[in-house]
Symmetry: C2
Subunit: 205 residues, 2 copies
């Protein structure tokens, strides 16, 4: 017979495990952001959360699995700003610019992580290579669809190619991160992104 006591127990244990997993992922984000994925170690992450390596490996059986969790956490956060379930439109572009602003002000460690990891992962041997190839393809087609809708709605300036605008927007976002990380007071990433988009549009962003 399942009493309220035994019924609560797994939930409590699960909640504790989920909380612990989350703590490890946040620590992994920090360590990988600072040292890169290749140099960042499980030992270092375990130290940050005050666990033994064996204890950490109970939650994530290896570094690659931990990385996959970190990337998933990052993507979950992104969808709070860009509604990927709605049809792509100028609202997609607006959400993307809000996300850039949020990242800079609230989660600079995530910006560091993306910057270092996307560069490292260009190597085909990197464990996150396939993830990044797929992610860039997906973001590119989603933003292209947004610019195509905007063209149909007369919101795109003459002669602007939706796919190239989408590719440029992704490149601008990645490139601005490098400059911002080198000198965080020197530029406002969201403002520079709006400067990029303005000549491409016939409407206010």
């Amino acid at each position: 017979m399942i009493t309220s006591e035994t019924a609560r127990k797994p939930r409590g244990a699960y909640a504790k495990t989920a909380g612990r997993r989350r703590e490890i992922l946040e620590a992994g984000m920090d360590v990988f952001a600072t040292n890169g994925f290749r140099s960042g170690s499980i030992r270092e992450i375990a130290e940050v959360v005050g666990m033994s390596q064996a204890g950490l490996l109970h939650h994530f059986s290896n570094k690659n699995e931990l990385l996959a969790g970190v990337l998933e956490l990052r993507d979950d956060r992104a969808t709070e700003y860009v509604d990927t379930s709605a049809p792509a439109s100028i609202e997609t572009i607006r959400g993307f610019v809000r996300l850039i602003d949020y990242n800079a002000h609230q989660v600079p460690g995530l910006v560091e992580l993306h910057c270092v990891l996307s560069a490292e992962a260009t190597s085909p041997e990197h464990p996150a290579h396939d993830y990044f190839v797929r992610r860039y393809d997906w973001v590119l087609s989603f933003l292209t669809a947004a610019f195509e809708t905007m063209r149909a709605d007369g919101q795109l300036a003459a002669g602007i190619d939706p796919a190239s605008a989408a590719r440029g927007m992704i490149a601008m976002s990645d490139g601005l991160q490098v400059q911002w990380l080198l000198n965080r007071d020197a530029l406002d990433m969201a403002e520079e992104m709006r400067n990029y988009l303005r000549p491409l549009l016939t409407v206010e962003l």
Copy 2:
């Protein structure tokens, strides 16, 4: 007395040393491009050029010194395409676009190196951090000067800020590298850079 024999000797030895240094720098470029600076090792570079570690350390006393040499070699190559001694103008911008094209087709390892290293070096603890801060500042002011000249010459579209155009051009270059390295057949970096510049200009590039 210095005979022709003894006079030639130092030159010969110097030429040999310079050649060896150059070989090591090229190998360092490859190894750092593939593994990043942090994970790339002197041992690996020594193996590539068929030297002992001790032999290599006769030319470069440590990894940081080797990195400085690699970056200097990269900058030397860049100035073959962008004339930094001439006053900044639309020719500066044209040279920059030609350099992007050259890098993609002739020295992809350099693109990899720049991509990984500029990301890693955003960390203040990285040995190349100060170099990258200074280099980005310098490129930014040089390109800003070019866009200012273009504005004075009526070559800049209305409402375009020279400093922001310069910052955007650098960001676009860095960001396109990530996408190109993830899938080299998917895009033409120089073409995408021209797509970025076109709406900012009143003249053909």
